[in-house]
Symmetry: none
Subunit: 207 residues, 4 copies
DNA sequence: TATGAATGAGAATTCATTCAT
DNA sequence: CATGAATGAATTCTCATTCAT
């Protein structure tokens, strides 16, 4: 379904969101001016205020929508198994796909938390926390079942998320690696990280 | 040599650097104003220009010094062994110690690359690259020696650095974990990640 | 004739006028926005332009109508006597009644003259002048007849009008004084002011 | 003593205050722009912020200083008598002198109360109240001594102040009347108003 | 008769930077 | 070595107004 085609207005709003993500990812929130944003969208700066009451509110809308979208998608595509290793595999696959697909949103959501006013910050961090909890639950499950060898489920959550999310900051569609390879590689790394042996071959970095 | 003993001026410069790191870490470079910086240092804004030709130059100085300090310290304390596993252990220890000690500098260096003008950006990224290369070399060594099982030394470098650097964003001196534990945990995670078995015990997350 | 029965439209126009008086009295003309006005009326800002060609024209309409209403009412209820003292008494009564009844209109008419463009200013001041002239004529009559003792009929006009109009700025229906008392008090003050003895009792201010 | 001659800065501040009074008196506070104010002073708009933290604060400073100046001057020149009639005479003289001398400040103080934020409003109204109380005290004295015939000291205070203050809104130095005449006329009006007989001659308005 | 979308001009305010002293 | 005064350019945001529908 998604946003129905709609009037002038809803198309303008979508255009603003798109352009905002692009600009904020490129320059940072503070360094992004509404003038430039309006210019990209092809309207006057004042017109932005029909859609967002302030620059800050625009950022909040972007981040909240992004995180809710992320959570919804995980929920919708959740793996049909209770096996922790299988679930972890699915999580890595999901995370990398999502984070390479919506690279800019992810980048913005990671970089601009500090541009949020305290109440907005709490709201956004709350949503992010729910995503972290998904991974923590998988790791804790695996630990409990004696399948994973880990020092601490929460620390490992942060470690693995940092590792996986980092991908978005250097991966380019046009680069050396196909997305399939990327996922396979990180699956191997994560699996080993939680103490599972993999039979993936080792290969040296080509230069 | 440089700023050692401390005339009035060099003490002021140190104070500016300190305050700048603090402010930029807290608000971001764009959101940090020279007025506020000057206020913290206890001088008028104009006085800052005795020490740095521009706000941008101040950031560059901060980042370059930080990265050179990082590289110097690794070089100075380099482990006295050729064994890849030992070297990797040493790297993790060094990295986490440094990144928890100089948390704010690290945070700024990771967040504010995009605030740099292209030539400065290249310079700083060049330094950072030299640090990454240290880890890549260790991993490639271990691969060549058949000691590590890894998909790709470069990808693993990014993955491990992201994992380790992430620590700085949530670790607090006053938190649940002692620094020793932190290092042990991440050593275990990294060792497993590169395919080495560890004998560290698994423990569940306390609630 | 004019806005009597009330199609949709003429009811809307009345609502606009009402809301405008209220808002302008509260915030001043410049500080009143058409957005807020429209909001109170329950329409979109653009709809106001069906009724008034501009914000400035709205103000003019308000002021002119108010002053014409004032003059019409005096004319309609004019006292049936040539005696200056009687006429003065009637004027005070009329003025205070009108100025407490239509407090907000009066307030706006006194405060917002300077918001008028020169031609509108002249028109409105012309109407106001006709009202002042009513009092001047009474005073001049009384002087000529040797009944009043006054330095100058015009100066006294301004003085008395200022005195009486001032009431509107502090009088509240719900306050300490009934309207009847208010009128009696000011009648006494004005009568004494023009040199007539009154037999009204003096009373001290209660605390 | 007064503001000592002083640096560049204090001269600029004085110039800002002067120009601000002039502009605000002419156009109203809301309609006065900092651009225009700066233009009159001969500086860039931003420079105003060295002297006042906001447009609103500038207005407050103007009003508070004006009212304190008014109160100080009355106190300094207070009449050397306890006789209510004499004191009332002195008050009228003082008030009209002051209100014709500092016409614009007075006008602004009367018109722009509503442009103040609530706390500032309370502060300014508090000062104004202290001035009103001076007149109320004189009237109450005269009443108690049986010298004045008045309905109510507080109501009479408002009435007389309105009458006297109104002068500032039409008096021009260059007009028909000398300031001496103006004061004499209003003294007569006020004296009669409180029920004292005067021996001033009546004269008709020349046309 | 009214709406919804947008404009264009201008508002207050902020900020890096300069420079005479 | 540092200040105090000021600049000039930009920023977010507001608002009266227009107009196709």
């Amino acid at each position: 379904m998604a946003r129905t085609t709609g009037s002038e207005g809803s198309r303008t709003e979508e255009a603003i969101r798109q352009a905002a993500i692009e600009l904020i990812a490129a320059r940072g929130f503070e360094a992004t001016t509404l003038r430039e944003l309006a210019g990209r969208v092809g309207v006057q700066p004042g017109a932005l205020y029909r859609y967002f009451p302030s620059k800050a509110a625009l950022l909040v809308a972007l981040l909240v929508d992004h995180l809710e979208f992320l959570l919804d998608h995980w929920t919708a595509g959740q793996p049909d198994t209770a096996d922790p290793a299988q679930r972890l595999r699915a999580f890595v696959d999901f995370h990398i796909r999502f984070h390479t697909l919506r690279r800019k949103e992810v980048f913005v959501a990671n970089m601009e938390l500090r541009s949020l006013a305290p109440p907005d910050y709490r709201r956004v961090v709350g949503l992010r926390r729910r995503y972290e909890d998904i991974l923590t639950a998988i790791l804790a499950d695996g630990l409990r079942a004696g399948r994973f060898r880990l020092p601490d489920a929460r620390v490992a959550t942060f470690a693995i998320l940092a590792m996986l999310t980092g991908v978005g900051s250097w991966y380019r569609e046009s680069g050396r690696l196909a997305k399939r390879e990327l996922i396979d590689m990180h699956t191997q790394l994560v699996m080993q990280c939680v103490g599972l042996q993999t039979d993936a071959p080792s290969k040296e970095t080509p230069r």
